[in-house]
């Protein structure tokens, strides 16, 4: 009797270990996923151009490019721009299913030189990624 119960539990444990993913996929929905994020000088052909971590004042602007795939439903995300831990601006951007690329940019001024970061967050404040860069001469 005991041997039969033990065999049953081992069989159940093996089944759980072999088929966990299938069970999750079958039971859940696809979530909003950040596929690409980058700081760049400009956007050309819906793609970031001259990616980098340092941007010169001579460029006059800097862009934050993000692409979400998949986008399960129409929603919003935020690009929050910080200069030395001080929030400068928070830009609300809409996303449309099934995938969406969106961009925020700031115009550079002399006082903007220094280290920056952009936090990409959802409506609940969950941080997808933090991009760090510097504005220099």
């Amino acid at each position: 009797m005991n041997a039969k119960i033990l065999t049953f539990f081992i069989a159940m444990l093996g089944a759980c270990l072999l088929f966990p993913q299938q069970a999750h996929v079958q039971g859940g929905e696809k979530s909003l996923t950040l596929a690409q994020a980058a700081m760049c000088e400009e956007i050309r052909d819906n793609a970031p151009y001259n990616l980098g971590v340092v941007f010169s004042m001579a460029n006059e602007k800097v862009c934050c490019f993000t692409m979400f795939d998949p986008v399960p439903e129409r929603t919003f995300i935020y690009h929050s721009w910080f200069r030395r831990d001080r929030l400068i601006t928070s830009i609300k951007l809409s996303l449309e299913p099934p995938q969406w690329a969106t961009v925020s940019r700031i115009q550079l001024r002399e006082a903007d030189k220094g280290p920056w970061r952009v936090e990409i967050t959802d409506q609940t404040g969950r941080v997808f990624r933090t991009l760090r860069f510097s504005i220099t001469d």
């Binding site: 980098g52 010169s56 831990d85 280290p115 220099t136």
Partner: protein, 478 residues
């Protein structure tokens, strides 16, 4: 009264040593120089100095200036005029006598010299009258004595009673080893029972002996005999040894030496007390003028802070102190001798207002606090916590126009920092020191130090204060 009390309570041990040491020097000078002319002149100078201080106190400018000049000149004159006397005093004393000994002003009566002189006078039929006072004061009954002041010697006694000496008819008064007076007129005895052979010299000797406890020695000019008058008795002394015995017994009259020692002790005690009082007065006059004020800006020190907290802000970093004391002490005051310590033993996280009291301020002895600004300081404490935060490179300068800094990797990417809870709440990134781009190699690795801001932050143990930056540059697209 309060001022006087505060003066004494603020005395340092050095001040007491100072006063006692100088008082002892003055006392020793008195011991060495008493009875000399120099001593009297020194007393004069001390009085001049006192007058000078009084003149200064009253604001008599010219008078005080003149007193000062006179004192300086007098001090010089003493050294020049009395150099021989000073030298003899100092040369005659050994080191013990100079520093410690109490030389007796009076010495033993030279019995043998007196005896030898008296019997020599008797042999030569030279009349003489010598008074050896006891404990009674003979000055009240003796008149017209001429001050002599010489040390007793045979030659001196013989010369005093020499026929052609103008003072030979009077009596010589011997106190200790000195002939104090000569030519003294003694009161005559009116007794009826004295022998008819007694002349005026005998009656004078008997008269003084009746009135005082003095021993009077007389030498009869006619008979060449030595006689002694003591109390109501006048008797001839044939034997010199017997005579010396009488003199010795008189010199050791019970109470005479005791009275002398008592007088000596009293004199020395008064001298010692006067020295201390005088030097204390001089010391206060020099060292304790309360007219000197000074101001100091002293940094605040914070003590007894809970180790789990740190100071994030203070309403003041230093205190302005107004101090008073003698000009001598104020001049020698060093800033490091003054400390203001704020006790934070009862302070907790958040703002704490702590008063700056007299107990918070450490001053050297003799210096007193007049005013302190501010009277309280607000100290904001924060609980110390650790936090892991990302590191970011602070790039500065300019890259060549055709290049872009494409990728950067840091090792480590995060560091653990310690600091106040409130401070760390607003810190989300630790930046490096500025890294110049101008001379950057196309790609490579550099090590950069972290720049902690605010300065109260520190790297937690186990984390490094430097990061390795691996970077890649690429051609810029046009």
């Amino acid at each position: 009264m309060d001022t006087l009390l505060s003066l004494f309570t603020s005395l340092r041990w050095q001040d007491i040593v100072d006063i006692l040491l100088v008082s002892y020097i003055v006392f020793r000078l008195y011991i060495l120089l008493r009875g000399t002319t120099v001593f009297h002149v020194l007393i004069g100078i001390a009085l001049l100095w006192l007058s000078h201080r009084i003149a200064l106190f009253l604001g008599l400018i010219v008078t005080s200036w003149a007193m000062q000049g006179i004192m300086a000149v007098t001090a010089l004159i003493i050294i020049v005029v009395f150099r021989n006397e000073i030298r003899s005093v100092l040369q005659a004393k050994n080191a013990r006598a100079l520093l410690w000994g109490l030389a007796r002003k009076e010495s033993e009566t030279p019995v043998d010299i007196i005896a030898e002189s008296v019997y020599e006078l008797a042999r030569s039929h030279t009349g003489a009258l010598i008074v050896l006072p006891g404990t009674d004061d003979v000055d009240e009954v003796i008149h017209s004595g001429i001050p002599w002041g010489g040390t007793v010697s045979k030659e001196m006694l013989l010369s005093i009673f020499w026929h052609d000496n103008p003072v030979h008819d009077g009596a010589a008064i011997i106190k200790g080893e000195r002939v104090e007076e000569v030519g003294a007129i003694l009161p005559l005895s009116h007794r009826k029972d004295l022998p008819s052979s007694y002349g005026t010299r005998h009656r004078a000797a008997a008269g003084l002996a009746e009135k005082t406890d003095a021993l009077v020695v007389l030498v009869s000019e006619e008979r060449g005999e030595v006689a002694v008058a003591q109390g109501s008795r006048v008797h001839t002394v044939k034997q010199r040894d017997h005579f010396m015995q009488i003199l010795r017994e008189h010199a050791e009259v019970p109470g005479q030496r005791k009275a002398y020692l008592k007088r000596q002790r009293l004199e020395l005690g008064i001298a010692a007390l006067a020295s201390i009082l005088f030097i204390t007065g001089v010391w206060f006059s020099f060292a304790r003028g309360w007219d000197t004020l000074t101001a100091l800006e002293v940094p605040l020190g914070f003590i007894n802070r809970n180790p789990g907290t740190e100071i994030v802000d203070t309403s003041a970093n230093s205190a302005h102190l107004e101090l008073s004391g003698s000009s001598t002490l104020i001049r020698s005051l060093r800033p490091e001798q003054v400390n203001v310590r704020i006790d934070l033993s009862k302070a907790g996280a958040g703002p704490n207002t702590v008063p700056i009291t007299k107990e918070s301020i450490a001053l050297p002895p003799g210096i007193s606090l007049k005013k302190v600004e501010p009277t309280a300081v607000t100290v904001t404490l924060d609980k110390v916590i650790t936090k892991e935060v990302p590191v970011q490179v602070d790039w500065v300068g300019t890259l060549p126009e055709d290049l872009r800094l494409a990728e950067v990797r840091l090792e480590p990417e995060m560091v653990e920092v310690m600091g106040g809870e409130e401070v760390l709440e607003s810190v989300s990134t630790i930046y490096t020191e500025p890294v110049p781009l101008d001379n950057l190699e196309p790609s490579g690795t550099i090590t950069v130090r972290l720049a902690l801001n605010p300065a109260s932050l520190r790297i937690a143990s186990g984390s490094k204060d430097k990061v390795t930056v691996e970077y890649v540059t690429k051609q810029r697209l046009h």
